[in-house]
Amino acid sequence: MTENTVTLHIDGTPYQMPEGMNLVDAARIYAGIEIPIFCYHPKMEPVGMCRMCLVDIGFEARDRATGEPVLNPDGTPQVRWGRKLETGCTTRVTAGMHIRTKTQAVTKARKDILEFLLSSHPLDCPICDKGGECPLQDLTMRHGPGTSRMAFDEKKRLGKHLPLGDLIVLDCERCIQCARCIRFQAEVVGDDVLAFHERARSLQIISISDPPFDTYFGGNTADVCPVGALTTVDFRFGARPWEMENIPSISPHGPVGENIALGVRLDRDSGGVKRVKRVLPRQNEEVNEIWISDKTRFGHHFTLSPDRLQTPLLRKRGELVEASWSDAIKAAAKAVKEAGNRVGIIAGPMMTNEDLYMLRGLAGHVGSRKLGVWPPNLGDPDPVAEVGIAAGSRLTALGKGDAVLVIASDLEEEAPIWFLQAKQAADRGAHLVVANMRTTKLDRYAGHVIAYDFNEGVDVLNGLTAAAISHRWTNRSALERVNGYDELTAALKGTRQPYKEAAEAMAKARNLVVFVGDDGLDPEGHTALLRAAANFLIITGHAGQLNNGLVPVWPGANTQGAFDLGFSSENTRAMLKNPPEVLILAGAPAAADPAYAALLDRVETVISLTMFHNAAAGADAPTTAVVLPIQSFAERDGTFTSAMRRVQRFYTAHGPAGQSLPAWEAVGLIGERLGMPRPPRSSALVMQALTEEVRLYSEMTYPALARVAEQFPPIGASPDFYGGATRSAAGGTGIAWPSRAEGRGKLTVKAVRAPEGVKPGPGELVISPVRRLYDRTPEFYTATLMHGRIPEPFAAVNTADASRLGIANGDSVVVHVAGAAVHVTAVVDSYAPEGVVLLPLYLSSEPMPLVPLAGTVEKITEPVPAD
């Protein structure tokens, strides 16, 4: 879109509008004039199908000979009106354009189209999920005819409960054939899962994929559907829209920090308490736009799951038994006090900033610095603080002339919204480079796919940097503020540069965003890869610029917050060598890794703050002495910091599970027993204290985080739901803290090399963990509706390795690694690189290491022993 502003008249009034903008959007935003729509969606290409947006369009007449405007006697320009009405949604703002939206023809056309749509519509609004937030209802009230002349018994009768896959149900009678659902899946996501079948009045939505509706984004179709034709099995017939309160919240799943709204209502089936009935996206153009992944949408059931721990537990006579909070806190405080500075903390991915702040306060009080992050495989995050994507950047701004690099990450599995945004950036013309040791779905959209061998990601980045240096694709003025450039140049001398074209495209791109994951990396490798990415961003002059920078694909919703507050993965690993006396597991499923399961046995006492009392959280460790039930994100206020360093606030949606407390409060109670000041009374006050102590967060008070940045186009805020059921940004759009590169100071580049990596012995393979979106962690598995989508435990084995080992696709195998035995099904596929077995995490409850290690894969000939 050009930023050129032109004059366009609507109903006689002149307005200034950006040239080339979609007329429907421009009229709404710049003139406050509603052009009603059904099929148009501001995030998709217009198709002109529903014909609801018909307007009268004219142009100022010009004299053929002179080119001068032809004037009316009163001096106003003469307008030549079109022969027919035109669809506003397929019209772009042009200078000298005149629009009429109030003529009789337009009014009649709207009424006529609505009458047509209603002639086939079942009008079962009283039992329709969309009733109350339905564009068809709203526009009928505003523009429609009062009665229908279509005889009811002549309406087309169609299927009303047609499952499109296991999550979405189609009501064919309600469908108005706008194709928004098809277009969302095909255009926005790139999953060809839906299509029209048949034609004329028999035109019908079907799923064309196997398994049906196979996508991570399907729930969004129910939002954009302008009627109640698509419903999710989660919400279907669950509540009426107006009965629910929409509580602003943040997804607890993954690093994106999707802005969501939790629709809560008192619920009879849950014993009359408030519960989440549905999760909707909340618009935030700098984060998730108006989309959320199905994991975020459906993975909310853990918040009031009966599996949640309801009361504190205390070990008495060798058994963990229910206890009162005061006894449990007393026991925990006693253990901490006795350990003194030999207290270690491992904080999990859903710990909020408030929780982490109180945990670090407790550690500080006893003089401990053992603040660990779970998972333990992550490298040094400092490059993120230095060159992380600039605050206020939008992936939606990337297009022609820009570039995106995704390295060592399967974005679709690890951060689905970023997958979608990287794909759309490529669609808009951005140069996408995908580098990994394995194939990922994003490869389809890439201009360059760089397939490297295990552990060679750092070499790839070094090669790109070396190419940029030797071809002078560096940025002169940027180099003036760089330390270590000469050393880097020297160190990279002679580095192979096999990906010159990709290097050039990225180096010369106007904007460059680099996603760095931890696929196949141990902590040293991850540290090196982050650093190597930073080097490239710095020398090419991208660091510190808006819409540029590094995005780490962290595993957790608040991994970045933990780093910001001084927790680290390195500290976690250090505990293996030097076990603390008391280990506090704060929402960290540490026993899911055999090395840490062993650690639990090596410490004196484990205090576990957890939502779920399970083996991963230390339930089976004899050293676990106190277990404290903590609240989920839906039961309390708090903040998460996304991997783009955006601190975002979520609000209490419903009451607590059992006697659970927010983790910060539980920690505060322990601290109080140890003589610390009384803990703050509210989450807001904890954050207040945090802002005073942590400089990066000095702005992040609750009132500031509640501020709403203007959204464009304002989809969620629209009263007639023209972009779907998405909620407005109300509740706050959060604040990102700026990277150092955004300041004026010096930046440092530093040569790094790939670490040793794993050296498998004879007969061994590398066993490399990978993350899958859908797994069997209790935070997700409690969503029973998703069970059919979660893969059975498997390991991907390369075709060549498999044939060497005599393993066929579908064989039961056991993977032996680091003392663990993991029973899985072999998936033989060239998608795994040769010599590397990809072992998805958390698909079974068997512990497995979180870092790549050498191991073996063996076919099981005996039946698997029942456990």
């Binding site: 056309a109 054939q177 299509a195 004329a200």
Partner: protein, 440 residues
Amino acid sequence: MAEHILLRDLDIPDIRRFEVYTRHGGYEALRKVVTTMTPDDVINEVKKSNLRGRGGAGFPTGVKWSFIPRQEPIKYVVVNADESEPGTFKDRQILEGNPHQLIEGALIAAYAIQATAIYIYCRGEFWDLTHALDRHIEDARQAGFVGENILDSGWSCEVHTHLGAGAYICGEESALLNSLQGLLGQPRVRPPFPAQKGGGLYYEATVVNNVETLTNVPWIINNGADAYLQIGTPESPGPKIYCLSGHINRPGNYELPLGITFRELIYEHGGGIPDDRKLKAILPSGASGPVLPATDAVLDTPLTYEAVAKIGSTLGSASIILIDETVNMAWAGSKMTQFFAHESCGKCTPCREGTYWSRRRYDTLLAGRAAEKDIDILSDVAGQMTGLTLCALGEFAVNPVVWTIKHFRQDYLEYIQQAAAEEKPAARGKGKAARDAAAR
């Protein structure tokens, strides 16, 4: 006309064969343009001939070609052989009897716009013709008229055929392009038009022409635009294949100049109406154009784009269906509405819903359950579609309703009066048609 220009198979039975075609001057026009004319020369000659598209709209062919941006590296010619209009069967005879002339015409068009490939989109039922066409194309390729470096000119052009799957809408050019690309056969939003980058086949600039249109082209090149302008009228020059069907003694294709009158065509060439019954109505362009009552004024109207437009209809593809006095025109309207309700692609609301609703109204009418207000509803529904649809099919669909009501309201009232008289509608229908309808 002494000799046929288009249906040359009537003069030379074996002309479909490559050797016979070439023996009778075939591919000389192509040789002429490729070796002696620039692409612009070709476009100008066709422009000058004022050849108008025979697919229905009558758009000047040379002008259409001149819209193609020259500098685009990839351009296509698409031949519309979907021939699905009720009562149209002329393209079929060309494909069957004189295919090389079509191939030659398409190649000349391709040369004129410097296209890289030609796609011939044939209606699904033409599978046998299409396989034969593939062999004819192969023959032309063997002789160096198709493929790489045609006649050593440095210009290369492939010719492909493609079979549709039985949808009227795929004759509409943008739906045809979608179908050719393997997408759902639904029309596209325009602009961009097929001739523009972004609007054509695979989103490249594309000329879409009807079979008959292109079959005219070799003759124009061989004989010159001036000779062509001698045939027909200045505004509608050239020969036209008229498809006569319905109540006519000698149904079939007639290649005659544009500008002869309905009367000449029907009574001299077609042999008049069977049993000398009275001609009641004429559909000059299949189901798509407005029906005309068979008045003397109509019968004396020349068959040209402009004259037929003046009397309130369209010449379209000149698929002329004749209807005699035994037919109730409300029944005829219902038949055509059924056709459109079946063939609407469903993409846009007014056509999808309007055709369905109209069909249901006709069902009521023919079942003797309608009142006079239902005629008004039918008119209203048609009015609600007019001007609001995405493509022309929706506009076509309105015609049978509006014009049968306008010219033959009495036929509608008959059904209603029958109902009012509480007689069994089947007992007194005018002819078989009404009885059939009532029996349903």
